[in-house]
Subunit: 428 residues, 2 copies
């Protein structure tokens, strides 16, 4: 049932393939590496996300009749190339950081080792997924930390492309959000879904009283009532009058949230609804969440800022050839010399150096397969071996890994101000 | 073959539906309106995009067995609601701005007129599509104007979610880009596709000479050679030596593009390759394009900035109930009073007031169906009538409409500095 992912690819990958098939270099072994030259916007760390989705997309990377017919009609490539694509199966190896792991500038987040022909085609698809999902997870992780023990619902679907919304919900959950409003993310990835109510529901009814009554009748006292359609204080009184002191929660979506939350808490407590929770929404980001730390808030709903990466909607990872087989069958490091965009040649390995339980450095070596240095955690794991996908894992494993990886960072990692990466990347 | 779009929906839309079915209000007529309270980031105008995709998604908005099973297992809604969803078909009307039309704060970009039950479910999907596609088209339009007669290739697929990439290519083309690197956009939407070559292709071969020879042999002299892998001047000489003065184009992807372009132009002309075009890429946005106006550049490739909306990755449109039927069957305007987020009640109509061929105002009225004021162009068109989709049109029609709509704006619209909307929105 899955749609082919094969055309989620840039035109030039196919024309390069054609030229390499014609020159004979296409079947030489080639190693590509995904890395970011820098973190976005003075961030202290990044979060790897999307790896699992890359593996799903790789399984669906097949040129079927429809894809081949398009390429033939548009004359994108010649017949020899179409023949190659018709039987395309990635048969190489992929290594990568596991999802949820933190990363830093130069971290070899994914390594694709195959023939040039097989590996060059995957550039766009791999980068699309990792750049998007990592941007969302990196923002979400900061918000999760700012929120402390308070849960955050991801509710940004309406602020991003409809399919990106599903991936965003997955990435935010991986980085510590408690749930999402997006039903597809619940269905496809098992992310818990949640929701409150909209102003439209209140406006639909003859009065706020009627609307609250209808919601409570249908959804029970544990529901979350939206109290800012008209007058907040009046709405809170109506809510407790109708639901009783066992009302689940109220949501505030406008105004000075810290001030309003304090007023609402006082009001709820005065009405005996001491267990009724207060959920706040309204263009929250990590800074706004941090600023509400002292306010009597029990949960946050975050939309736009998380799905757009809170100012950094893409992780700016690149996919670069770092080694290729020469005419004698020897794998040799390669690197371009473009001004301002140099790359480091050679197949890499990577380790997180940890001292006394605290991350101290990202160690990137060009001796793949060498044992981990003392006190260092290997970061590259086998995801695909000889074309077979072996790196799948439950989303909750990534969520738990992220929790542990972030907990290991120096405390400076959690400063929201702009700064340098919290640990250095050492190349050896 | 199309996948159901029905779960691209927020949890709360279904629970509101349940409560409204239980209260009896679900089948009251309701009018929802999509609008933006403001343009992003001091922009002078916005561009409507995504309308055609909304219509496609609406046709696929069906709750099939898989969707219902998920909702049942997760107990998202009760059985009565599941029964309603099983036979869900939108049977109302949708009006909207045509794709490519410019919009301003308060423009009623889409109006959904149906029962509350039918219309409330579409909130997230409609907003996801319009917010994403309009953000991309709004940025692309500025770039197109900055580029003047020079073509721009959209090549940002790797910097955004893999499916958002396809929609981005469509939106950028609609707003004047000449082509895209994204093959799926070529296949699904007929956008012309194009590409050059990557550094990996050069690095794969034993030398730049061998790489260029391979590319020319396979793709012909009209190909675009990437000349900044090692030394630009040397690469240009090699390129012309191998392809002859009829070489199609060279691409520069690094360095000070204006300076390098001048050097390359001089070099090409000296070698007799006076018709060889120069294409530049490397984190270009509308400002960088404008700054290259005087440089000898023949085309641009734009990636990150266009797919991320050049600083405004979402158009911040909202979907608000503006009118609903009361107990006596009368349609009444409604509006919330939330602090800082007021809405204007009542079903709207909209016109572009044009004086001497120049747009003068956006006129928004609450008298739908009244004739257009003199010199005003009606902006709301019927897209869906009684559930039947009637508003489909070829993408090129939207592209042509955009060209005309932008051409009609006051020249101030094209200032890249931040400012107010270029025409006022008048409510009457």
């Amino acid at each position: 049932m899955a749609m082919s992912s094969a055309l989620l690819t840039d035109h030039y990958e196919l024309t390069m393939l054609q030229a390499a098939l014609d020159s004979g270099a296409a079947h030489h072994r080639a190693v590509f590496e995904v890395f970011a030259r820098h973190l976005p916007l003075g961030r202290r760390y990044g979060v790897v996300a999307g790896t699992g989705r890359v593996l799903d997309a790789l399984a669906d990377f097949r040129f079927g009749e429809a894809e081949l017919a398009f390429l033939r009609e548009r004359r994108v490539v010649n017949d020899r190339t179409l023949d190659f694509l018709a039987s395309y199966r990635f048969s190489g190896d992929v290594y990568g950081y596991r999802e949820g792991e933190c990363y830093f500038p130069g971290s070899p987040i994914m390594v694709v080792d195959g023939t040039f022909a097989e590996a060059v085609l995957l550039e766009t698809l791999i980068l699309s997924i990792l750049n998007h999902d990592s941007a969302v997870a990196s923002a979400a992780s900061r918000m999760t930390h700012a929120a402390g023990d308070r849960p955050i619902i991801e509710m940004g679907s309406r602020r991003t492309h409809e399919r990106a919304a599903v991936a965003s919900a997955r990435a935010a959950y991986l980085a510590g959000f408690s749930s999402t409003s997006n039903l597809m993310a619940g269905s496809v990835y098992g992310v818990p879904t949640a929701g409150t109510s909209a102003h439209a529901f209140t406006l639909l009814h003859g009065s706020e009283y009627d609307a609250f009554q209808a919601q409570i009748d249908s959804l029970g006292h544990d529901t979350t009532l939206l109290v800012d359609t008209y007058d907040v204080a009046k709405a809170v009184r109506t809510a407790v009058e109708l639901a009783g002191p066992g009302l689940g929660a109220v949501r505030i979506d406008s105004g000075d949230l810290a001030v309003v939350a304090r007023e609402v808490r006082k009001l709820l407590d005065g009405l005996g609804a001491t267990k009724t929770r207060i959920v706040v929404t309204s263009d929250l980001d990590e800074y706004a969440i941090a600023a509400l730390a002292a306010a009597p808030v029990d949960g946050y709903g975050v939309g736009t800022s998380v799905v757009t990466g809170s100012g950094a909607p893409t992780a700016s990872m690149v996919y670069k050839l770092v080694a290729r087989e020469d005419g004698e069958g020897v794998l040799r490091p390669v690197a371009k010399k473009s001004v301002g965009k140099p790359s480091r040649g050679g197949r890499k390995d990577a380790f997180r150096v940890v001292e006394d339980g605290v991350a101290a450095a990202e160690l990137v070596t060009t001796a793949p397969g060498a044992p981990a240095p003392e006190g260092a955690r290997p970061l590259l794991h086998t995801l695909v071996r000889g074309g077979e996908i072996v790196g799948r894992e439950p989303l909750d494993a990534a969520r738990e890994r992220h929790r542990a990886s972030v907990a290991e960072l120096p405390v400076l990692a959690h400063q929201l101000s702009q700064g340098d990466p919290v640990i250095p990347t050492l190349f050896s």
